[in-house]
């Protein structure tokens, strides 16, 4: 089947090139959704802004760094602790939020003085912290502030501090993805190579594109450390600012999230000759394969097998218990981009779940090449899906569970379909062997809960609420 125009998109036919249903015998040379392009006016996008991609996803994870948001307070608040990435220093990065609190007077007269005042105030208030990232936002970019000049002045006045400036206002790109890009390229060009690492072992890697969501990093680090490998830098789960300055010294870049951090891995290869090895860290089969590949690179095959054997002995029986319960269930994955291709075969192979629809907010065509190659025939693949498309997909595919974010999750809950937080998880971590059992448990609990049917009942005796009663454009279904 070629690209598909959903009924709800009749008045925005441009959406057809973003929606694809895979037919037998087709491959990505025939059909590939348009992606990483501007959202069509009139469609109710679920995307985030470019600043958010830099701050919330990557920079804000750092555990020893002040995140100075140069803009109105909302830009800071809305990217603060909505994603749960803990750290082993009492969650410094989740406890605090910093903003220059831009007001109208700053828009009129300029906000550089305000920025400098706030930077100094923040360092003075937290004397133990010597590292900072400054982010521009739409407002301060539009008025032409020069945060780099401010940062340089402060670093001259206080040589003990180091500041990195991310100039990626919300409007810089079509989605979060631009923020990933700007931060990656800025960091490699300005900060990598400015500090030498302490190398403690024979084998060293950078683990790129893990953000320690509910402790993901702790699990994967445990496996790799047990193999005798030093992780010099995590980009950026549970990481420090300074460890990311030493990335040039690792022997291998192991990449998990190729969308948000593939850029820095590519540049490390180009500029420093460090090879890039991509792995999937979710799922038993994938995690085992990833460890085997890392082991193969260093000649640590036996060490990898020992870790895999231990973890399988601990967790595989639990996974199998859930697989027996979940086989044949239908899932939608409506997340950012990479989790579509990381998860579609992992849940199918390890848990017997069929992924019937996938939607990406900020994936590029590279991500759609991956997910269409891995995904099932008959599955729906959508770029930058809108709310009405979600409703139509639900009607078409009748999923048992939907992995998505809290915004779409609220919509889904009103239809009495269980949703799992596909970004920050329900009860993670979800990476690694133990993590995938957690994912299986949350999925099983979601699809088995009687709550969904109970919530649909109308205690006034008026039958069953479908959740579709007042949804525009869906009167027939209601």
């Amino acid at each position: 089947m070629p690209m598909t125009l959903f009924k709800c998109d009749t008045i925005i036919p441009e959406r057809e090139k973003h929606c694809y249903i895979k037919a037998p015998g087709e491959d990505t040379t025939q059909f590939l959704p348009a992606s990483n392009v501007a959202t069509i006016p009139g469609t109710l996008s679920e995307r985030g802004c470019s600043y958010c991609g830099a701050k919330l996803v990557i920079g804000g994870v750092l555990k020893d760094t002040i995140q100075m948001i140069h803009g109105p307070v909302g830009c800071a608040y809305d990217t603060w602790h909505t994603k749960r990435y803990p750290s082993d220093n009492d969650n410094f990065q989740l406890k605090y939020v910093w903003s220059t609190g831009i007001k109208e007077k700053h828009v009129v007269f300029g906000a550089e003085k305000q920025l400098k005042k706030c930077v100094l105030e923040a360092f003075d208030a937290m004397p133990g912290i010597k590292r900072m990232i400054i982010y521009t936002t739409c407002t301060t970019a539009l008025i032409g502030d020069d945060p780099k000049a401010v940062a340089e002045t402060v670093m001259k006045e206080r040589p003990e501090v180091d500041i990195f400036v991310v100039q990626c206002p919300g409007f810089a790109g079509v989605s979060q993805s631009k923020g990933h890009h700007v931060l990656n390229i800025g960091w490699i060009n300005q900060k990598v190579g400015t500090l030498e690492p302490k190398i403690t072992g024979k084998y060293t890697i950078n683990f790129i594109g893990d953000y320690n969501i509910q402790g993901d990093t702790y699990l994967v680090e445990k496996y790799i450390t047990r193999m005798g490998i030093q992780i010099m830098s995590h980009f950026t789960g549970n990481a420090t600012y300074d460890e990311l300055r030493t990335m040039h010294r690792a022997q291998l870049n192991v990449v998990n999230c190729a969308r948000s951090a593939g850029y820095i891995a590519n540049e490390l290869k180009k500029q420093y000759g460090i090879p890039r090895l991509d792995i999937d860290s979710w799922g038993f089969g994938y995690m085992a394969e990833g460890l085997r590949k890392i082991g193969g690179f260093f000649g640590l095959e036996k060490e990898a097998e020992a870790v895999i054997a231990d973890e399988y002995a601990l967790w595989k029986p639990k996974l199998d218990w859930y697989k027996a319960k979940l086989t044949g269930k239908k899932m939608c994955i409506w997340t950012g981009g990479p989790r579509l291709w990381h998860w579609t075969r992992a849940v199918e192979d390890d848990l017997g779940i069929e992924v019937v629809a996938m939607s990406s907010k900020f994936g590029h065509q590279e991500d759609f090449e991956k997910v269409i190659a891995r995904g099932r025939v008959g599955t729906i693949y959508i770029d930058d899906a809108n709310e009405l498309e979600f409703f139509e997909v639900i009607d078409m595919m009748k999923p048992d569970v939907i992995f998505t974010g809290p915004r779409v999750g609220e919509l889904v809950k009103k239809l009495h379909i269980p949703y799992i937080n596909g970004h920050a998880y329900h009860n993670g971590p979800y990476m690694g062997f133990e993590g995938f059992v957690n994912l299986a448990r949350d999925t099983y609990n979601a699809v088995s809960s009687p709550l969904w049917k109970l919530a649909a009942g109308d205690i006034r005796g008026k039958g069953v609420l479908t959740g579709l009663e007042s949804k525009p454009g869906m009167e027939a279904a209601a």
Binding site: L32, N266, D278, R374
Partner: protein
């Protein structure tokens, strides 16, 4: 393309991330490096690992060959010439899908 080469291509398409690196030159390099090494592993030809990239391709090829052997019993009985021919076919098809006929508009963007 032969049925056997098609089997290998299908496996690679469904499993391997290295075929979908960011740019055309990365994909070309991976297809050439990993599949050449896979062919050498399957035919028992000696090879030298000189660079870090060689080690990376060896790690990927090692996994690939183990999976091929486990899933496709005909590989064990194939002759050296047959393997060489099949790997050449697979390389050609992989380049066709992921580079030459790819619809990915970012594939030839100069910068990462």
């Amino acid at each position: 393309m032969s049925e056997r080469a098609e089997e290998l291509v299908t496996y690679i398409q469904e499993h391997c991330l290295w075929q979908f690196f960011s740019r055309s030159w990365d994909r070309d390099e991976n297809i050439e490096g990993i599949l050449t090494r896979a062919g050498e592993l399957l035919t028992g030809e000696p090879f030298v690992m000189e660079t870090q990239a060689d080690k990376c391709w060896q790690a990927e090829a090692g996994i690939l060959v183990a999976e091929f052997k486990a899933r496709m019993p005909w590989i064990a009985a194939a002759t050296r010439e047959e393997i060489t021919g099949i790997i050449a076919e697979v390389k050609g098809r992989m380049k066709e899908i992921t580079v030459e006929k790819s619809r990915n508009e970012e594939l030839r963007v100069k910068n990462y």
